[in-house]
């Protein structure tokens, strides 16, 4: 004998596959056919659940399906009970699963579904957040000043402190496998032998006979007399090595590299040159003060400096002239604006 839960199962399929009107119309028929009464509490509760679900899912079913269902039901009522039962079976979809209804099952099922939904939503949210804010993104380029854009975020610097305690690497018991970053790898031996390496070395020594050049020369240069022509590397004129004139001696460059303390060579040379220049200027000033009247000293200094400036711009190299200009400017700023206007 069939029990009410089995009917519940059948009607569930009706809910999922057919229209609400047809199901409501068929439910009493089915119950009548199997000798069930509507006074049963379970049946009554089931019906209420049905009505709720039918209202939710009834809109999606076309009306033609409802009409054909009613037509079938009328035909079934006309036959004998066994025929009606066959009609019901044939009109219903096959039973896929059976839910044995227990007291409190609804609560448990609902709780599980809600938990799963919350878990999935949380998982999706965290995954999406991770996708939107990955370390090493373009925002880091912005932070480093490589991209000209607004600041889009600063990622946290990561440090991996201990190289000798790596929990992500686990060796298998027989040392034939290793697990790294969640994947298990099997070890395979390297097949290269010393003999094979020697064979390759001989092959290459035969194929590539080469002597490292020790001197780079531009294509238009002439070979110095004491240099082996085989040791010369000819480089094109637009090569970075070739586009600079050798304005510094080799010995001096070597000394610069070996220097450990003190002021670097060029800085010191420039400083000394500037010092000499200032001293010379001061000597000239002293000499002038001996000869010239103090009352006219300022005017004379200015004219003398302008003469010197014009001679510097004519004869000195550009960087020296710029420095002399700088010293001139500083001396000019010392003088009063009235004097500037006078001159």
């Amino acid at each position: 004998m069939l029990s009410p839960p089995s009917i519940w199962t059948l009607d569930c399929h009706l809910v999922s596959c057919q229209g609400p009107g047809a199901l409501l119309g068929r439910l009493p028929d089915v119950r009548v056919n199997f000798g069930l009464r509507r006074s049963d509490n379970c049946g009554e509760r089931l019906r209420r659940n049905f009505l709720l679900k039918l209202r939710a899912s009834g809109d999606a079913v076309p009306s033609s399906g409802t009409d054909s269902l009613e037509h079938n039901a009328i035909e079934v009522e006309k036959g004998d009970p066994f025929g009606r039962f066959r009609g019901v079976i044939s009109s219903l979809p096959p039973v896929v699963f059976v839910i044995k209804r227990n007291p409190g099952a609804n609560f448990v099922i609902g709780f599980c579904i809600a938990t799963s939904i919350f878990f999935i939503i949380g998982r999706l949210y965290s995954a999406r957040k991770a996708v939107h804010d990955p370390p090493g993104s373009v925002a880091d380029l912005v932070r480093r000043g490589q991209l000209r854009s607004d600041r889009r975020g600063i990622s946290k610097p990561l440090k991996y402190e201990d190289p000798f305690n790596n929990p992500l690497v686990k060796v298998g018991k027989k040392n034939s496998t290793v697990e790294m970053c969640g994947k298990v790898y099997r070890m395979a031996p390297v097949t290269l032998t010393k003999e094979e390496q020697a064979v390759h070395r001989r092959r290459r020594s035969w194929a590539y006979q080469w002597k490292r050049p020790t001197m780079f020369l531009k294509e238009s240069d002439t070979i110095p007399p004491d240099v082996d022509p085989d040791a010369v590397r000819w480089i094109p004129a637009n090569h970075p090595f070739a586009t600079t004139a050798t304005d510094i001696a080799e010995d001096l460059a070597q000394t610069n590299v070996y220097q450990k303390h003190g002021v670097p060579f060029r800085i010191q040379a420039e400083h000394e040159a500037l010092q000499r220049k200032l001293e010379a200027l001061q000597r000239e000033e002293k000499l002038d003060k001996l000869v010239i009247d103090r009352g006219n000293a300022n005017d004379f200094e200015r004219s003398l400096m302008f003469q010197e400036k014009s001679s510097d711009t004519e004869h000195s190299p550009p960087h020296e002239s710029s420095k002399s200009d700088h010293s001139m400017k500083s001396s000019e700023t010392d003088s009063s604006p009235e004097e500037t206007q006078k001159s």
């Binding site: 480093r144 697990e179 790294m180 020369l217």
Partner: protein
């Protein structure tokens, strides 16, 4: 099958450290040489053992400073990435390292290390006397025993003829500095075999050849290896970079053992393709500083470990099925 990574480390006979010290047990029996084909390779018969020596400090082999040039011939295979990661790994292992970006026109090592804003002086300024050598060395704040030196600024020019000599002077000067001689001097070599390459290999006494498992890179690597050997650099090891195990499984990419068979060089490391490389470049943090470490970072660490002890790989890892976690939460990726 597909060899992807390697963890086994066996002391080189040329190492000054006895092998018994490094490996108390003989961990590997040298397999018989046999011809290898991708489809028929089955490593099961050989008694392979892996020794992951994470639990001790590697012992430095060879005379210091170890001047290592990292070169490839072909561009874009990962020389600079290798220099940055191996250099910082060595620093993390406790060794003092000076990395020299010898790429005159196209320097990038400072970018990978995140030190681009701190490079004020270069070797050109040192040669010209604008600064001292110690002023041109950029010390990394993360690992103070790591220093960077660039050869030149993008628009500055290196005086002709000084290239190789300047680096020899530089190494000599570093040997005698007050802070002590660095343990490693890594030279990031430019691509090609032009004047920049000649400059970079001049002071080196060992080389790391970086290659990828494709025939263009392998041809250039073979030629560069020949030039290095002609120059007298005999200690040459290779790092196979950008290995994709899925493509090797589909036989669309040469396996590491195929690469080794073609070049005949000892393996220092095998680096898998890793999207984290681009992210680490963007951040200015090399892969080996990532936490949690990535597969590529771990492979670089192991390569650095082997470089310290002058070891070479005697076994590669073959990828198997991912570890099954099972359970309800695995369905959601938990």
């Amino acid at each position: 099958m597909l060899p992807s990574l390697q963890l086994l480390s066996v002391s080189n006979p040329s190492s000054i450290i006895p092998s018994t010290t490094l490996n108390p047990k003989p961990i590997l029996r040298t397999p018989k040489p046999h011809r290898f084909s991708k489809s028929s390779f089955r490593p099961a018969a050989a008694p392979v053992q892996s020794v992951l020596q994470w639990n001790r400090q590697p012992q430095l082999a060879g005379d210091t400073p170890r001047v290592v040039v990292i070169t490839s011939g072909k561009g874009g295979v990962g020389k600079t990435t290798t220099t940055a990661n191996v250099g910082l790994s060595l620093a993390r292992l406790g060794f003092s390292v000076v990395a020299i970006d010898a790429d005159v026109g196209l320097r990038n090592l400072d970018l990978l290390l995140g030190l681009e804003n701190r490079v004020n002086y270069t070797l050109v300024e040192v040669l010209n006397g604008d600064c001292r050598l110690d002023q041109a060395l950029v010390r990394d704040k993360r690992w103070s025993n790591f220093e960077l030196l660039c050869i030149s600024k993008p628009r500055s020019k290196l005086p002709i003829g000084f290239g190789g000599k300047a680096l020899v002077w530089l190494v000599d000067s570093l040997k005698t500095r007050e802070e002590g001689c660095p343990n490693f001097i890594l030279i990031d070599c430019p691509a090609g075999i032009d004047a920049g390459f000649i400059t970079a290999i001049t002071p080196a006494n060992e080389a790391v050849l970086v290659t990828t498992p494709d025939i263009t890179s392998l041809r250039d690597a073979d030629r560069v290896t020949g030039l290095l050997e002609c120059d007298g650099i005999k200690d040459i090891k290779m790092i196979v970079n950008r290995v994709r195990t899925d493509m090797i499984k589909g036989e669309d990419m040469m396996s590491v053992l195929d690469v080794q068979e073609m070049l005949g060089l000892a393996l220092l490391g095998v680096i898998p393709e890793d999207s984290e490389v681009i992210r680490s470049t963007n951040r200015g943090y090399p892969l080996v500083l990532n936490k949690p470490p990535t597969l590529g970072g771990l492979a670089f660490e192991q390569a650095a470990w082997r470089l310290v002890e002058q070891d070479s790989m005697k076994a590669v890892m073959v990828e198997e099925e991912p570890k099954k976690r099972g359970g309800f939460f695995s369905f959601f990726g938990g």
